[in-house]
Amino acid sequence: MEPSIFRFILKYSWRQQLLILALTILSFPPLYYSLELPKLIINKALGDPDGPWILFGWDVERTRYLFALCGLFLLLVLIGGLLKYVLNVYAGIVAERMLRRLRYQLYEHVLRFPLSHFRKVSQGELVQMINAETEALGGFVGDAIAVPAFQGGTLLTILVFVFVQDPILGLAAIVLYPVQIYLIPKLQRQVNELAKQRVRQVRRNAERIGETCSTIREIHAHGTARYELARFSEQLGTIFWIRFAIYKKKFMIKFLNNFIAQLGPFLFFSIGGYLVIRGDITLGSLVAVVAAHKDLSAPWRELLTYYQTLYDVRVKYEQTVSQFLPPNLQPVERVVGEAERIPSFSGAVLKVTDLGLKDDSGEHALEGIDLEIALPAHVALVGPAGSGREELTLVLAGLVTPSGGKVTIDGVVLHDLPEPSLARKLAYVSNQPTLLTGTLADNLLYGLKQRPVAPPPGAEASRARRLRERREALASGNSADEADAEWVDWEAVGLRSPQERLSAMIRVLRAVALAEDVYAFGLRGVLPPGREELASLLLEARRAMRERLASDERLARLVEPFDPDRYNTNATVAENLLFGRPLGNVFDLEHLPSHPHVRSVLAELGLVDDLMRVGYRLAETMVELFSDLPRDHEYYRRFAFIAPEDLPEFKRILGRASIDRLQRLKPNERERLLELPFKLVVARHRLGLVDETLQARILRARRRFRQTLPPGLVGAVAFFDPERYNPAASVQENVLFGKIAYGQPQAHQKVAAVLAEVLEERGLVDVVIEIGLHAECGVGGSRLSLPQRQKLAIARELFRRPEILVLHEATAVLDAAERETVRTAILRAMRGRSVIWSLEDPSAAHLFDRVVVLERGRVVAQGTFGEVAKRASAATALEAAG
């Protein structure tokens, strides 16, 4: 990266800066003439009644002359304005490109940081620097050359004019400039120092917020919110006092500037006046000089501001860039390059020679490690925690560069291989795997995305747009790779047809005991786009399910089916009315009656007032039941129709009107009452508020709603239809086609078992798993449990079919039974290829061809399990004897 902002600007935008400069100069003449013309209009057209009125050599009539001049004025203003517009847009583009380039470079540097550097920088700080602090730099780029050129030029012109009038007065006009030039930077430097502190403090704030998000459970579990608030308040306080000091200094500068500017007229009037009285200069030139001085102050002030910004920006740039240049920054080629020769891994020898690694404090985490492993081999690393097992796996996975010695495979130094090349051969699983925000499938396939392998779908149609994007990316020195291209390199793992790919994914999920979880996600999921043909299969399952339920009276009681002609007592009033699922966000089940169409149907059937009365009764019950409970009571979440903060409002509404005087309420209050009953489930809430008559009327509303649905809203609801798949409802809901009944013991478990049987019989379990693969994992995999995350991480690496799989305590979070299954599955999947596994539990070491025992960063024993065990028992025996 360029060490200073000017080098950065010149290196990447000198041509654009020249163009900006040219445009600036071009905008001068129209500006000058648009100032000149009014004078001409006043003096000649209006002030001189005798003429002659000469326009471009033509003698014209007076009114014509006036209108021609006015027209000319308008034209000049227009040209000047347009030039300014072009200039501004262009400067904006240049600034934005430079900003994009800078952010890209910073982000690229983050990707090149050595892993150990992430222990020193916080995520919040990096976010703050890349996003917020660069913003000011971008804005400056557009002004960097144009402003000093333009304002400096103006200043110089006026100064020349003043000096031509009278050298002494000219001197008087600038006599105070040296004072300003001396004084202002001094003060400015203090302001900048404070500004720097403020930047650091804001970064610290960002860090704190980031930390709060990542430790939110700890905060709640320890009840330390008050402490955290105090800490945050203290930081905000620090910023406040810095700002306060900045204000004092900044406005002092302003005051001095203004004062010195006003000293000018003082000098003109005293010295100039004296000279006029003595007759050395004329009054006219004094007036002209005073006027010129007034014009001087604007560009002078601009130049001073520019200077201040310049100083600020320069510091900011250097401060930011220095944060992104840690020692041992990886070369770009290592991160994004490709190797010319990838060593063959099978049949090669993995050789570790005199390997050493120092930690942050300079202590040896690994020391003098020598290993020679003929690949393929399954190697166990054992040793107590802190023996260097983890560090050794990190080095062997190529993630951490050793501080001494080297690792070679087939004679090639492992740490010289570019990461994308290495990643196709070698995979790593740690005990703290991180997932990406995205679907399970996105995560599972993440390891196959080293380079784009095919253009995005529909690439031809969007050719023009893609070319433009590409040109623009290159203009800012960004990556021209398309993020929406096909990145998954299926060829690399030898999977061609979609069916092959899917069954390989499911196989690996089964191997790591994750298939059942994904099946559960699938039941809750909707059909992924592009897989609509699965609907007919699931519809068959619905039929089979219906038969199964009908065959056994005990089962039939567990599900209340969706029937277009019957009210479903296990569904909410809203669900009964809509009898479908909203598509998009036109209809919201939470606020159904506020939609105009719903409202008109309710009004037509006279349901508005009746439902509002139900709402009133419901509110009464809620207020009665819940008003004594503390606000944070979990019952609110689980049972209440009204949020605790809304309870007082409902109390007020109940107090304002009795049940037969609801028209006295304000419209928004009526609205709130009307919304309440839509959440009622007859079978669950047992309030007796929605009786059979009302149910029948809601059924009529259901039919009416559908009949009168305006054409524009037809796509907004996916209605339940016994013969059709509902794309907006979950797989489970589609197959069950009903609601699991309240009041049946273990209904959920029993229904799930029958459902699984039906799907199994029809071979649809894989289909459900496929749908489950489209489930979102949440930010960093937060929607998955820890074991689920760990299993997915293992599946992700197994799926890549690496030549060497390096693991560190990768099954430690699983429970004992699953740990066994998954471990066996990994070793079986890697048969004929290599595994290097740092084990938390040495008892599994007998499963490996070779065992390496580490202690305090050194290898203390190695060999087959038998050899090592014999030596270990001998050592124990010796120790016991000694």
Binding site: R554, Y635, R684, R686, Y742, G743
Partner: protein, 157 residues
Amino acid sequence: MTLRRDVEALRAIPLFAKVEPARLKLLAFTSEHVDFEPGEVICRQGEPGDAAYILLEGTADVLVETPEGRVKVASLGKNDIVGEIAILCGVPRTATVVATSRVHTLKIDKDGFLNLVTQFPHVAVEVMQELAARLHHTTQRLTEISLQIDTKKTTRE
């Protein structure tokens, strides 16, 4: 079956007799109705208990599994409560309860019951009194039985 009738049923149970109606209404509202067919198991000995059941209708047998087989120790009817011991002291179910006719129950989950006990001291006192009474009853029976055993021993000697 509406909430009001549930509340009446709850009031008929000695344990809740003195609890004010509003509390009972909340308890009823947060509870679930569960129906069992004759022969269906309401709770099974040894399994962890997560709820207590109040029999609103129907009858059930309380069975204890012993090495000699199942022994019926009690039968339950309308307004009886079962399963509260397991949720109060966190032990597994102490007996198996099987419906002998169609049973209509109100299922009070652990949280609901404990909430009632912890947040409304008078309910806790009620529960304590009820349990103390039962303990007293059990102790009395134990005394009677040990006396009987002693008497038998003495006679045998």
